[in-house]
């Protein structure tokens, strides 16, 4: 029982941090959500604009014009332009909270799979209790090297539950604006849900099967609008069915 309480308080901590991080994303996407009809899909190499603008992510400059470098949606304002990709791998960033799985044990530490390019290392001395193979942990990324190797800290272990793998670019949608989607999921299924920025989602208790279905639905429909309401309806409709 203690564990469950610990986990719940963890959520609060992580949720706060994620909210901060997501705000940036939401600020960009909110205005593109408003004019849903103008939401434009672009492919790599497609011309976005020939005006001078601040460059966001997944755009590049050639001969004074701005081009997209990924398959994604354009997010554009007066002075800023970026592309929100529809696919992609997870690249660690300082400040991210990730969910990982212990994949190997060395004499002085553990290798943890965080869905990035390579397994990351946690020193044994940096935490107390012993971790076993396949244990689920959450960790914060403190520092990222130029080779995209993450320095992990604040390691916490999660007991039981299951791991769902989703595409890392869809994670902001699973969390939602100010955690709105995550709240809907938690209230609708009564599950403990921990979303890692790397695309691993830990789910325990409650109607876990329904939570998995709902998250898969979010992943499938991440690029469509009014998602939170639709997921809410979906959870209410299927509340009894999957029990």
């Amino acid at each position: 029982m203690d564990k469950a309480i610990e986990v719940k308080s963890m959520h609060a901590v992580h949720a706060g941090k994620e909210a901060e991080k997501e705000e940036e994303f939401n600020a960009e996407s909110s205005q593109s959500e408003l004019n849903e009809k103008e939401k434009k899909i672009v492919v790599p190499g497609e011309l976005l604009t020939d005006k001078k603008k601040r460059l966001g992510e997944h755009v590049y400059l050639r001969e004074g014009k701005i081009f997209s470098d990924s398959l994604g949606f354009v997010s554009e304002s007066e002075a800023f332009i970026s592309v929100v990709p529809l696919q992609g791998v997870y690249t660690p960033r300082a400040g991210d909270v990730v969910v990982g799985i212990i994949s190997d044990e060395k004499h002085n530490g553990y290798l943890v799979d965080i869905n990035s390019f390579y397994a990351n290392f946690i020193l044994k001395s940096s935490r107390g209790p012993v971790l076993k193979l396949n244990a689920v942990v959450s960790a914060k990324v403190f520092k990222v090297s130029e080779l995209n190797e993450a320095d992990l800290g604040q390691v916490r272990q999660f007991y039981g539950g299951e791991i769902l793998r989703v595409s890392p670019v869809k994670v902001p949608r699973i969390i939602g604006k100010n955690n709105s989607m995550l709240e809907v999921l938690r209230n609708g299924t009564n599950s403990n849900i921990m979303v890692g920025r790397n695309g691993y989602v830990w789910i325990k208790d409650g109607n876990a099967a329904l939570a998995v279905k709902a998250i898969k639905k979010i992943e499938m429909e991440a690029h469509l609008s009014n998602l939170t309401n639709r997921i809410n309806d979906f959870l209410i409709e299927n509340k009894e069915v999957n029990k």
């Binding site: 899909i41 470098d69 990924s70 398959l71």
Partner: protein, 241 residues
């Protein structure tokens, strides 16, 4: 005894299969056909059928192959045993290895590899059915699969074959036209926005004047291929609601 010279373009400007000299064969592209791959693409180009899958960026094994400044692309072009009329030996031959190498170089020009140091992007292309122009079909499919995998790219890679059969310049040659006695066959791949040439391999002898015209036709044709690629990628995410 003089054999009657075969006519590759008739008086109405139509080729053996009814196309004009600057017309492509029918192209069909489907994106995301392999769920276990990061990105994938199935492409039909005339009788050519090609399936491409992309894995990564991921850890490079063996480790000494890794480049600490950029990702490496490992391109695997293979023909199925049943893709040609006589059984193809599945052992990778000189041709498979060469095409894999030049295609990897073409994709390297298109992708922003420096974003993923120390990693490898694995591209696998299988040719299921072939009728001339498979290396370009494979490269076209591979670049769509890479875009589907979310790898940042300067541009897609599009291309077509250009050449000459029966004294007439044409694009996208079929096997029959490639076997013409005076045939010139050049595989051409470009980055359509900057018109940068990333792959060019030629068989046969052609004059500089003819070549300049053929290249112009090839670039135009490649841009038509680019439209198909663009449409296929966008189609995956529009539509179903």
């Amino acid at each position: 005894m003089k054999e009657k010279e075969a006519e590759y373009v008739n008086r109405e400007g139509k080729r053996l299969d009814g196309r004009k000299v600057n017309e492509l064969r029918a192209i069909k592209i489907e994106v995301g056909v392999i769920p276990s791959a990061a990105g994938s693409c199935y492409l039909e180009w005339g009788y050519n059928k090609v399936i491409a899958a992309v894995q990564g960026p991921r850890e490079v094994l063996p480790r000494h192959m890794a480049d600490p400044y950029k990702a490496i692309i490992r391109y695997t072009y293979r023909m199925a045993t049943f893709s040609v009329s006589e059984r193809k030996n599945p052992k990778p031959g000189k041709r498979d290895i060469e095409i894999s190498m030049v295609s990897a170089k073409a994709l390297e020009k298109a992708a922003f590899l420096e974003k993923f140091p120390n990693t490898a992007i694995d591209v696998f292309v299988q040719v299921l059915d072939s009728n001339a122009g498979t290396r370009i079909a494979a490269l076209t499919a591979a670049s769509v699969a890479m875009a589907d995998a979310g790898i940042p790219m300067k541009d897609l890679v599009s291309g077509t074959a250009v050449g000459r059969a029966g004294g007439k310049l044409m694009i996208d040659l079929t096997k029959e036209e490639e076997d013409a006695p005076d045939a010139v066959d050049a595989a051409l791949a470009i980055l359509p926005n900057s018109e940068e040439i990333v792959l060019l391999q030629m068989d046969g002898i052609i004059s500089p004047k003819e070549w300049r015209e053929a290249l112009k036709m090839g670039i135009e044709g490649s841009k038509k291929v680019y439209e198909f690629q663009k449409e296929a990628l966008k189609k995956k995410y529009s539509g179903d609601k």
